[in-house]
């Protein structure tokens, strides 16, 4: 069937529908700058969603755990082989995405007889100074890039649906997401932003995305407090002040609990 061009286009469109349905209810991810670097945060059930790739590179993804794992290993392989053959400074997120991950995702997506990667991710590279931080959003079809607000601001989000992402970004803009707050404050804001995204993601993907709106009496703090009774927050930082070359650190339970205790 794919010999006929329009059938192929149709197959790709179906695939897109299928993947977006799969992703729609995923737990959102928030990437937010703070005083010493960048914070990644999500709320997970069991599987880990935030990972270290190299000394200054980390990512978080939503999607199928096996697909995330495959991309994670591919990124780690690429980065370490490059760092070994050349130098640590030659491992850059730009090249990792442009020449490694994106082409691979695109190939997998367009080969309609094999399974695509069900994944959506945000990757971050910590620069020497905040001006040199780099944030990249990468989609299941290999496309990468950020919207206009996202390009301007030192934060970003990933959620199952576009309206959810849009509302989360608006929430961050409203709450001065660009401010260099301390880590505990950043964890609080990121978690509240997550709650905004989750409120919409829980409803899945309606026929018309415009129908997705926050209920008028929605309170991010209250919603978050409810969630935290059953689920746990996962967060990690790329910390410029960390000693040594590797800047990635997972926050421990206690740190997160302390930050979220006086919500």
């Amino acid at each position: 069937m794919t010999e006929e061009p329009y059938r192929w286009v149709e197959a790709i469109a179906n695939r897109r529908e299928y993947i977006e349905d799969q992703l729609a209810r995923g737990s959102p991810i928030v990437l937010l700058n703070y005083a010493d670097g960048l914070l990644l945060l999500t709320v997970s059930r069991e599987t880990r969603k935030i990972f270290e790739v190299y000394d200054r590179i980390a990512f978080a993804a939503l999607g199928h755990p096996a697909d995330i794992e495959r991309l994670r290993l591919a990124a780690i392989d690429l980065a370490h082989v490059e760092g070994f053959h050349r130098a640590v400074a030659d491992v850059s997120l730009r090249r990792l995405v442009n020449f490694g991950l994106s082409p691979a995702l695109k190939t997998a997506f367009e080969q309609v007889f094999s399974a695509p990667h069900i994944v959506k991710m945000v990757l971050a590279e910590l620069g020497e100074t905040p001006d040199h931080d780099l944030i990249v959003k990468l989609d299941y079809d290999g496309s990468y890039g950020r919207s206009e607000i996202e390009m301007r601001e030192p934060f970003d989000v990933v959620a199952g649906t576009h309206p959810a992402e849009k509302l989360m970004l608006e929430y961050l803009v409203e709450h001065d997401g660009h401010a260099k707050r301390d880590l505990a404050d950043a964890v609080r804001l990121a978690a509240q932003t997550w709650a905004v995204g989750m409120q919409l993601s829980e409803r899945g993907r309606p026929a018309d995305e415009r129908e997705l709106k926050l209920p008028p009496d929605f309170d991010a703090v209250k919603a978050l407090r409810e969630t935290l009774k059953t689920r746990h927050v996962e967060a990690a930082v790329l910390d410029r002040t960390r000693r040594g070359a590797a800047k990635f650190r997972l926050l421990d339970e206690k740190e997160i609990r302390t930050a979220l205790k006086d919500l």
Partner: protein, 255 residues
């Protein structure tokens, strides 16, 4: 794109991309090449961890090639490789090792155990067997790390590993160092394991000086060029260098 199912083995990833640690040279071709080696490195277990030290001289036959060679290489936050042997191969091994530990930790989401690390170096030395047998690339390193106390491992050129109870030394000046340390450890009043960091630094400097006195391939303290040995401590808190200013003071008062 699909990653090699390497289970965290970085060397396997490198090999799958055509990397070879030890090229199979023709033995005859290399027979007369002047190679740099000759060194003294040592590791002493003391009260708070391990102290490693190394001289700075690199030689080729009777020639002094370089007086500021670094023979202590940090592999991770709490491990140091002290190298004796042919630098080209030793530095390459250190590089593979450093990336291997990081690669394992990041891909497997857990740190490699100390026995795993010790074994990794052993595998690299075995990998280097062709170079060793041809006499062009022998490496005899010491691996020092902290894991519930200081730990020191000495290797032979074929990759056999031996855990040292109190201290280890490698390189052309090793015999002199071992004699000094054995004497001190046995009849010195208290065993080396009870020494403070400051006391251990003095012992290490004196031992290196003893090696330099009889071994041409070991460089002592060079007061004209102001070149000091490298001295580094590994404790529970990580790795720290003993600063040159501190060494300069000790050379004046203690050596």
């Amino acid at each position: 794109m699909d990653p090699v199912p390497a289970g965290g083995d970085f060397l396997a990833v490198l090999k799958s991309r055509g990397y070879e640690l030890a090229p199979r040279l023709a033995a005859a071709a290399a027979a007369h090449a002047p190679l740099t080696h000759g060194t003294t490195v040592l590791a002493i277990k003391y009260k708070d961890g391990v102290l490693v030290a190394g001289d700075r001289r690199a030689t080729a036959g009777h020639l002094v090639m370089y007086e500021r060679a670094e023979k202590l290489i940090n592999i991770d936050a709490r491990s140091v490789l002290a190298i004796a042997g042919v630098p080209a191969v030793a530095y390459e091994m250190a590089r593979v090792l450093e990336h291997s530990f990081q690669y394992y930790q990041r891909s497997q989401l857990q740190e490699m155990s100390t026995p795993g690390k010790v074994r990794s170096l052993s595998k690299l030395l075995k990998e280097n067997l062709p170079m060793t047998l041809q006499g062009v690339g022998m490496v005899v390193p010491i691996f020092a790390t902290y894991d519930e106390g200081g730990k020191v491992f000495l290797y032979d050129a074929l990759g056999a590993q031996f855990e040292s109870a109190d201290f280890a030394a490698s390189g052309s000046g090793a015999l002199a160092v071992r004699s000094v340390l054995h004497y001190l450890n046995t009849w010195g009043g208290k065993p080396l394991g009870k020494y403070s960091e400051a006391e251990t630094v003095v012992v290490a400097l004196r031992a290196l000086d003893t090696a330099a006195a009889s071994d041409t391939a070991t460089g002592g303290y060079n007061s004209k060029a102001n070149v000091f040995p490298n001295v580094r401590a590994i404790t529970e808190d990580g790795i720290h260098d003993i600063e040159e200013a501190e060494l300069a003071k000790l050379y004046k008062s203690e050596i």
